[in-house]
Subunit: 454 residues, 2 copies
Amino acid sequence: MSHQTASHPKDEGCPLRVNGTRLMETLHFTCEYGKAYPWGAHETETGMARLALNDDDKRVRHWLIEQAEALGCKVTVDQMGNMFVIRPGKDNTIPPVMMGSHLDTQPTGGRYDGILGVIAGLEVLRTFHDHDYQTEGPVGLVNWTNEEGARFPMVTVSSAVWAGEIPLETAWNCKEVTPTAGQEPQTLKQELERIGFLGEVPASYTAQPMAAHFEIHIEQGPILEDGGLKVGVVTGAQAYNWYEIEVKGRDSHAGTTPLSARRDALLAAAKMIVESNKAAKEFSGLVTTGIIRAEPGSVNTMAHTVRFTLDARHPSDEQLAKMVSRCREVFEKVAKEDSERGVEVKWTTLTENVAVQFDKDCIAAIEESADEVCARFEEAVGGRKLWTHLTSGAGHDSCNASKRCPSAMIFAVTREGMSHTPDEYCSPRDCIISADVLLGAVVRYDKARGKSNL
Amino acid sequence: MSHQTASHPKDEGCPLRVNGTRLMETLHFTCEYGKAYPWGAHETETGMARLALNDDDKRVRHWLIEQAEALGCKVTVDQMGNMFVIRPGKDNTIPPVMMGSHLDTQPTGGRYDGILGVIAGLEVLRTFHDHDYQTEGPVGLVNWTNEEGARFPMVTVSSAVWAGEIPLETAWNCKEVTPTAGQEPQTLKQELERIGFLGEVPASYTAQPMAAHFEIHIEQGPILEDGGLKVGVVTGAQAYNWYEIEVKGRDSHAGTTPLSARRDALLAAAKMIVESNKAAKEFSGLVTTGIIRAEPGSVNTMAHTVRFTLDARHPSDEQLAKMVSRCREVFEKVAKEDSERGVEVKWTTLTENVAVQFDKDCIAAIEESADEVCARFEEAVGGRKLWTHLTSGAGHDSCNASKRCPSAMIFAVTREGMSHTPDEYCSPRDCIISADVLLGAVVRYDKARGKSNL
């Protein structure tokens, strides 16, 4: 295999398989905590509204502790409410190989985003337990707090604190976006305290080190499904920047202001959005505007101010910078030369994230596992290879983890590429395949550290 | 003069001039009722917030009754609260020649829009009174209720009821947009009752006929100022249609959805707005989008639904229809051919208004008056003509009035074309010029009916 390095022994295969029925039953059982928005006739055909640290999140966390303890695992909760479930191995002086994702959801979310990653990790631990399988070092599962950033508006905030990327106090003071009616907005720390998940262990890679971090996540895009593929071996994550663009013109009457006398902020913003899409095509990147607001907002009055967001992504940091520069250039041109009497344009950077390159040994372990798992299905498709390398378009806790330990991700097929919506769907077969790939990757990575310098 | 018809005698000139100082003092005095938003050092440098039928509107209405009665005029209030102030003439069996506009303002309005038209009308009546000037028939002033449609969301609603264009009950039941905190939204009728201006006389051109309707209004556009002109003789009003356009695509993740797999409603809407501007240029009309809303409204999620408004105007009904057809055509093309996996577009008509052509005799009376008044200033500019014909871009009460009696309008210079904003401004000189043009037009029109078949 091209990605196999000299330190890897010949792949010996994984002797275990997950219990697929139990995986799916467990996943749907936990979705009783926070289920919402039925979209089909079956009782599992609903979405989820399990916002971080709400009462349903508290319930599913208590449930997870029970399950972990039933397997003889130790549970540690850190200052960010991150839950580390550790199953001992032969040598417990070395850090654990971890599997992790998140149990919180979007307000109108689905049953697979994050949840599949945690429940599949639990299923791997249960499979080890069923077979009394002894790993070289400890192996575990982590549930990261508030990954979505939907309730407390900082995405992947708790893995970022663990990685030392965001100060603890900043994260603790983050206030909820939508307070309960009649209440002050609560901080993340207040809610951790309220549900009893404000741990004492520092949220830090030094206090809670990991030997590696593996994460299953639904792809949230259409590439696997469109290509008739089963597994994505994720080699890294795109760089992405978020901006708010403010366009200022002048509000004047739609009926009495000749086109030539206008400073129409909304027309200029529309031109900029169209131009940003051209820049994305030119650089083979992605640019998206999801939010736009025009003031004062009257049918017969031009907008004096328009604010819109720009989400710009590229697998290459350098190409992202070039694509954004092109946008700045063309927006300025629209403002000065193509807006009649001119508008002003101002950029505010909301977030900038460099591209992430996952660890080659973690990737190799996933590739070997994917080879083995997919082989079961490839005969039926004439030997066509059923996994592919992918770059993650979205940010994940693994991106933070990768800054402090070897990491990589496994993507599962997502129906029509849809996520963050109640009818987000990953078929039972696809869930099980991804869990088997995770199991095989962890077994391989763990075994290698018993034999090499990993 | 090209517009003079055979029925007009040679222009004999107007023997009177308004009292400019009194006009401006009165205008600013009445703006004490509802003044708001200071923008300059002088006490008159503020905007207005005199929403229809609020307590300030009640106060200025009582003030107007006092002033009218002091001039020996009769005041009639109709079922819409429209106030008709009538000064008797030689023959009181014929209907009055009226001057009219409105005393209500936008919530963040200025001191001239509407107000100038009413106060100038009062100044004309005062000038007649000063000189004991006898008109052929009665002459009067009308204050139309809720012209702005800002509090009760139907513009020029009360002149429309008068003209038989809108049923009385529909207008009466119109609810206020922004209720007082803790109160149910009030209807227009409830507020007429509350402030004591629910009259018993039917709001109708049959119960309250008018021989003609003249209206001064600020231009609300930049043409007079940009051309160094003093007066606009308004020959009609543009046709205008309002639409809401709904674009439906699919919400998907900004980081994980390739450009080619997108159904991005906001990108498609931006393209449509840009195309609508091209159509406006092609047909020499006006198209404006003032409102846009995108759902769900998240930085990293494409919008599934975007709604935006389209305000389309043209002096010609036929050209307006062609321009709108072009928009429908190009929007459909964007939806089907230029939105990757396609979006759907749906049009809803909010209002359609045909072009208005004002009365040739009213226009001629204003032209003759403008000739005379502007002559005083033309020498200073090398004999350059200081008035021009204009088409009104906005709707006015005169558009409704014109359906039931000869009507025309006079436009006054508007600083930088700005209106519906606190610093809306028309200089004292320009206010006085327009009032003198109004005076001269009314004197001419009234005199002609003593001699002709008008």
